[in-house]
């Protein structure tokens, strides 16, 4: 039932395969790929692993169908070529491989427990680089659990890696806030998939945009291309609007939108309903994926401009835990360029830390500063809403895994739960398979209603298994004798 593990076959007696390396890199997006290349170049033995079927992460995700219009984009090529170079250097690349547990041993080395297509592996590493990327930061709104309501990133991934169509009949609405919406609209245009409406909370003024591109003129062509593709998608653009409700009985049928007033609240008197909608792709921004780094106990900071909680690193990519490095969006949102640069820096530092000859790359360090400056200015044009300017009806769900309603959470807070962790123990919100990754932002919004700041609410420190894993694989990995007890 709510115990997914019971649905797995348990392979009693299965034995974990042990893999040795100097540096293990978790995540094969732009950050992990760059880290791998830098580290392998020093002579270190590197294992690079990723949950997906092919390296690339978000920015460089690989299509599955030969006739896809995405097979030869610069982003897709980037990962394909980096992967070939890594393989030529002898980097061991594990795909469909998910880290579900990690620990640092007293001797200073690390162990990663990995589930790969029905098999258990334990990786021994002298140093670990967490390049686990980012994910959507879902904000709950009335009707958000209806089938057909999906993340903007989910729509993009489906269009890029599937047939090029989203599937459901009916109109498609793309909504939320931030420049990522334009990237998704561009994906619709390139896939040839119809996009009917674009609902955006904020449209930065010409003057603001001008300031950004005067400081970073090299980014202008890319932005102009995005705008041209948005026009080509022929989507009707509703600027200064937000989705106030998703409507339907067993799946999405319609979407209610309303204009935002000067106070930032939706003016419900002017709300209207878009009928005949099959898909609502919605995104209010991203958050770093920090399950691996919180489990290992590294220090994390909180900054709304970086997507909330992020793993703190020094200029060399090192975290507060010796031997653990972090790169890319694990350390805060920023996009593909900072990811690639911070990956290179962390790869070199991790190798140097283990005694390999690797001088710091001062050019990369400088370029990273500049790339992060662009990202910060871009993000400032679309401040991420920390909570939805909508009051949620008591029955609306916050935790999708355990069906926990707003009212249950408000009651727990009333009874004295003042932290994410306490709310979890009271209500089970955050205890399901998503481990709080999906409900975290909604939960902190409800805590904020009660005057508890996100920092005071804290994060759920992830625990074994980071992702639901077949029990036989967990047993095999844990019985390997590789862990301090």
């Amino acid at each position: 039932m709510s115990e997914p593990q019971t649905h797995f076959r348990t392979d009693e007696g299965a034995v974990a395969q042990i893999l040795d390396c100097d540096i293990a890199i978790v995540g094969a997006g732009p950050a992990g790929l760059a880290a791998g290349e830098a580290a392998a170049g020093t002579g270190a033995r590197v294992i690079l692993l990723d949950t997906f079927a092919a390296p690339g992460g978000q920015y460089s995700m690989q299509p599955t169908q030969g006739d896809s219009p995405f097979t030869d984009t610069p982003a897709v090529r980037l990962a394909r070529e980096a992967t070939a170079r890594l393989a030529a250097r002898g980097v061991q690349i594990l795909t469909r491989a998910e880290v579900f547990h990690a620990a640092k041993r007293q001797d200073g080395s690390f162990r990663l427990a990995v589930s790969q297509q029905g098999a258990a592996r334990v990786i021994r590493a002298g140093a670990v680089i967490a390049a686990t990327g980012a994910m959507e930061r879902p904000l709950p709104f009335p009707g958000w659990t209806l089938p057909g309501v999906i993340g903007a990133g989910a729509a993009q991934r489906l269009l890029k890696t599937g047939t090029g169509s989203l599937g459901p009949q009916g109109k498609t609405v793309l909504a939320g806030s931030g420049p990522f919406l334009f990237a998704v609209a561009q994906t619709f245009a390139k896939a040839g998939a119809p996009l009917d409406h674009l609902v955006e909370m904020r449209r930065p003024g010409v003057r603001e945009a001008l300031g950004l591109f005067l400081a970073h003129p090299s980014r202008l062509p890319e932005a102009l291309r995005l705008m041209a593709d948005l026009k080509a998608s022929r989507a009707r653009r509703h600027s200064g609007h937000m989705v106030t409700r998703a409507l339907g009985t067993t799946c999405l049928e319609a979407v209610e939108i309303a204009p935002l007033g000067p106070d930032g609240q939706p003016g419900m008197a002017a709300a209207r309903v878009l009928d005949g909608v099959g898909t609502l792709a919605i995104g209010y921004g991203f958050q770093p994926v920090v399950d691996l780094t919180t489990q290992l106990g590294a220090d994390h900071g909180h900054d709304p401009a970086l997507g909330g909680f992020y793993c703190q690193t020094g200029a060399d990519g090192g975290t507060s835990l010796a031997g653990l490095y972090a790169a890319g969006e694990t350390c805060g949102l920023g996009g593909a360029n900072p990811a690639r640069l911070s990956g290179r820096i962390a790869g070199l530092s991790a190798a140097r830390g283990l005694g390999f000859a690797a001088a710091p790359d001062e050019t990369a360090i400088k370029a990273l500063r500049r790339a992060r400056d662009f990202a910060a200015r871009l993000a400032a044009l679309w401040p991420a809403p920390q909570r939805l300017p909508l009051s949620l009806p008591p029955d609306e769900l916050i935790c999708r895994c355990e069906d926990v309603r707003v009212t249950d959470i408000r009651a727990a807070i009333q009874d004295g739960a003042r932290e994410a962790m306490a709310v979890k123990l009271w209500t089970r919100a955050g205890m399901g398979p998503c481990q709080g990754r999906i409900c975290g932002a909604g939960l902190s919004a409800v805590l904020e209603e009660a005057g508890v700041t996100a920092i005071a609410a804290g994060y759920n420190r992830a625990h074994l298994p980071l992702r639901p894993t077949p029990i036989g694989i967990v047993r095999a990995a844990m019985a390997s004798g590789e862990w301090d007890i």
Binding site: T145, T163, P468
Partner: protein, 91 residues
């Protein structure tokens, strides 16, 4: 396009392209294919990247995320639709 392959979806044999994310195949039919544990409410793909577990199905008897699996010849997919008509448990 490569040759289509045959798979079984809730007891029906269908033809699909090989190596396709299962979410592509399932969304084409109807966007809700799972039931939530307490309310038994319809759910389907949400994050599309392996982190929410809303898209879970059974493939050849194993609990798995549809968004992370690809179509392979002969695979058998079971969703809440079949379990409901068969009166079995649910994911």
């Amino acid at each position: 396009m490569s040759q289509p392959i045959r798979i079984t979806l809730d007891g029906d044999e269908i033809e699909v392209a090989p190596d396709l994310p299962l979410t592509s195949i399932l969304m084409e039919r109807a966007p809700g294919w799972r039931e939530s544990p307490r309310l038994q409410a319809r759910r389907g793909m949400f994050c599309g990247m392996g982190l929410c577990f809303e898209c879970v199905v059974e493939v050849d008897g194993q609990w798995t995320r549809a968004c992370m699996e690809r179509s392979r010849s002969g695979m058998e997919i079971r969703t809440a639709d079949q379990r409901r008509s068969a009166g079995g448990g649910h994911v």
